[in-house]
Structures are given as C-alpha cells and as structure tokens.
C-alpha cells in the first residue's frame, strides 16, 4: 500500500525564480528564505518519496476564465514548465505518475469532488519553484501528480471544502495498491496582497497562528470564508488553501520536522513547513 511520508508547504513567489537563476541564495535579502531549505532537503533524502502530489494554484497559465476550474487534477504523462509572461527561466519537464493520477481521479470523483481531468497541462512557478527548492539541480528524482485549486475567481472553494479534498486525497493514496512513498506539497501564501490601495498588506500574527494550526489544530482555518481569508491574509494570502489541502491529506500522527518564516520576500510573508506523517 502507498505511504504518505508527510507534507511540505511553502511560499512560491515568482521573483524567487529570478533569484535562483542569478544565484542570489546567499545574498542578504534572500538568505533568510533559502536557509529554510537545507533541512527540508535532508528530511526528503531520508523519507525518499517516489511521487510528489503537488497542490498549487495556477496563475493564469494553464487555465483562463473561459474555463476556470474549482479543482483540477493532472493526468498527463508529463508537465512542461513554460513561459508565463515574465521571462523567468523555465525548468526541465516533470514526469507524471499516470497510474496514481488516474487512481486519484477515479477515487476523488467517486467521493463527490467534481474534478476537472487534465490530460495535458503546463505548470507555472507555483509548481516549479517548490520543486526547485527541494531539488536545486532540477534533476527531478520523483514523479508528480498536480492538483490545482482555484484562487483566481471568487467564490473560491471554501477552506472547509479544501480540507475535505485533502482528506479524500489521503484516503485515496492510502487505498492505492502500489508500494510507493508519496510526499504531498502545498504551495503559495502566506499573507500578501499585490493589488489595490491595500497592496503590501501582511499579517504576521495570523500567519504564525495558521502555521501553528497546521501542526496542532488543522481545521482551525476552516472557520473562515474566502472573503474572511482575504481580509486577514490579503488577496493572494488565500493561497494558503493549498496548504490546507496538503494538511488534510495527512492521515496519521503529524509532527513538525522543520519550519521557516521570514518577512518580506517580494511583497510576501514567506514560509516553509515540513510535516512528517506517521
């Protein structure tokens, strides 16, 4: 049976891609953020995932408002990193785990999650950067399954619904009949707001409370509506929904292996958490 080794959740600010490309990891501005990853990499080396289930939000690359999904799952043989408008360097393509994708697709739709099934899909920084954090040489040693959550068009799937999607993913992986290790990732957030007169809104207190809840009280954030989350965490802070899906997928006893929190990277409260699932 498949085994969920744990979850890694992390910020995915696009400018990090530029910093990686320019080799600025030791630059004083970037160092506090990149310092969060060596410990995460050590843990990943120890738990040896075969597959990453990547929960993220597309930023208008693969999806547009002509067909804006609430939840989508990739069921493709590979996922290409392509130009998303700003000339961030692209990365090598990611190999899909088609068997696990279709298993999840079947299980989630059977569980009354109305997934969009994507047999072809390109991925943006929200997918590629977290992969590059863990594997800086960009030689991906894992297969991937993308799970996409709408954070573009309101209403968003509620925090409660996202947590339940995570639980359904956890059940489905647990029922998968191959003996593989699965790492769940959730990307985006934490608090930030790019647009409007409130641009630059950051909420350290909320972020720290949320990070604590990820370990000790995982349904805490499900009390908030999508607009509540905007109020507290900013218009893009809502990307924490991806973290909630990832957390919901952890089926066992959850322990904090590592965390990092730093304000600001770009306009964002940048955070990383490594949660083991036993």
């Amino acid at each position: 049976m498949a085994n969920i080794v744990g979850a890694i959740t992390t910020t995915h600010v696009p400018s990090i891609g530029g910093a990686i490309a320019k080799g600025l990891q030791q630059d004083p501005y970037w160092k506090p953020f990149f310092d969060g990853f060596p410990k995460a990499r050590d843990w990943v080396a120890k738990v040896k995932p075969d597959v990453v289930v990547m929960v993220y939000n597309d930023h208008g690359l693969n999806f547009f408002l002509d067909k804006q999904p609430t939840f989508a799952i990739g069921c493709a043989p590979e996922y290409k990193s392509v130009d998303e408008g700003w000339g961030i360097p692209t990365m090598p393509a990611f190999q899909g785990d088609e068997d696990l994708s279709w298993h999840l697709q079947k299980s989630l739709i059977g569980d009354e999650f109305d997934m969009v099934t994507c047999q072809e899909m390109v991925v943006d920084h929200a997918f590629t950067l977290p992969m590059a954090f863990l594997w800086p040489d960009q030689k991906w040693p894992v297969r991937v399954v993308p799970i996409n959550v709408n954070t573009v068009l309101f209403p968003l799937p509620s925090a409660k619904r996202c947590y339940k999607l995570g639980q359904a993913i956890g059940r489905a992986v647990a029922a998968y009949d191959k003996n593989i290790n699965v790492l769940v990732m959730g990307t985006g957030g934490l608090s930030h707001q790019l647009e409007g007169k409130r641009a630059g809104h950051i909420n350290k207190e909320f972020d720290l409370k949320f990070m604590d809840s990820m370990v000790n009280d995982p349904t805490w954030a499900t009390q908030y509506s999508d607009v509540d989350l905007v109020e507290h965490t900013g218009t893009q802070g809502v990307e924490l929904l991806n973290w909630l899906v990832a957390r919901g997928a952890l089926t066992g006893k959850v322990t904090l292996e590592h965390s990092n929190f730093h304000i600001p990277i770009s306009n964002t409260a940048a955070a990383t958490m490594v949660l083991a699932n036993n």
Binding site: G60, L65, S266
Partner: protein, 114 residues
C-alpha cells in the same frame, strides 16, 4: 441579494468584476506568449482593439495604471503579465498603487515583519 462586504483598498474578483473585466483579462492572458507581447508592443492600440477592450480599459492600459486597471475589471494574476512586459516588479506596482516611493513601500514591508 445581500449587501457585499467591503474590505478597504481591496477588490474581491467575483462575478461582478469578472464580467466587466473579461476582455482585459483575456488580453493579459495572451501575454503568456512572447509573440503576443511583441505584437502588443508594436501597436498597443491595434492589439487592444483585437481583444475588444472598452474605453476605460484602453485608457488604463495606456496609462499603465494598476488602480485604473483594477477598476476596469482586471485581475491581479493576469495583470501581472501586463506588468511584466515593462519589467515592473511587485514593489514598483505596490508603490504605484499606494502612492509611496518604492523605498517607502519596501520599508513598510520590512516593518510588517517586526
């Protein structure tokens, strides 16, 4: 329908906004492709016409003004691709919207971490 909740300085990109902004967001979505960015730069006006932008949207694009683009129904995720054409980073855009200098805006972000 019930009154909408207001969060000062913040737009919720819901159906009402998405309706007014569709042509603008569709144009910005096209900027994922380099050929389209170049076509836009060669003749901004013709490109706006191709995507059916209304006068308010054209004016906001011409002014490269983010608050105006938002008022015209733009969504931040798509507008970011427009901003990228001109090499604006998120602190440039934040400063423009809040009426600060870029240095002031950055200082505000740093202060939020204390």
């Amino acid at each position: 329908m019930s009154e909408k909740r207001v969060i000062p300085g913040t737009t919720i990109f819901d159906g009402d906004v998405a309706r007014t902004g569709y042509a603008l967001n569709k144009m910005c979505y096209s900027f994922n492709e380099k050929a389209n960015r170049e076509e836009f730069l060669k003749d901004e006006d013709a490109y706006c016409t191709k995507y059916g932008l209304n006068d308010q949207q054209r004016a906001a694009i011409a002014a490269k003004n983010v608050l105006q683009l938002l008022a015209a129904g733009g969504n931040a995720y798509f507008l970011a691709k427009f901003g990228g054409i001109f090499g604006l980073d998120m602190q440039d855009i934040g400063a423009q919207q809040t009426g600060m200098t870029k240095e002031e805006f950055k200082a505000k972000l740093v202060a939020a971490g204390r």
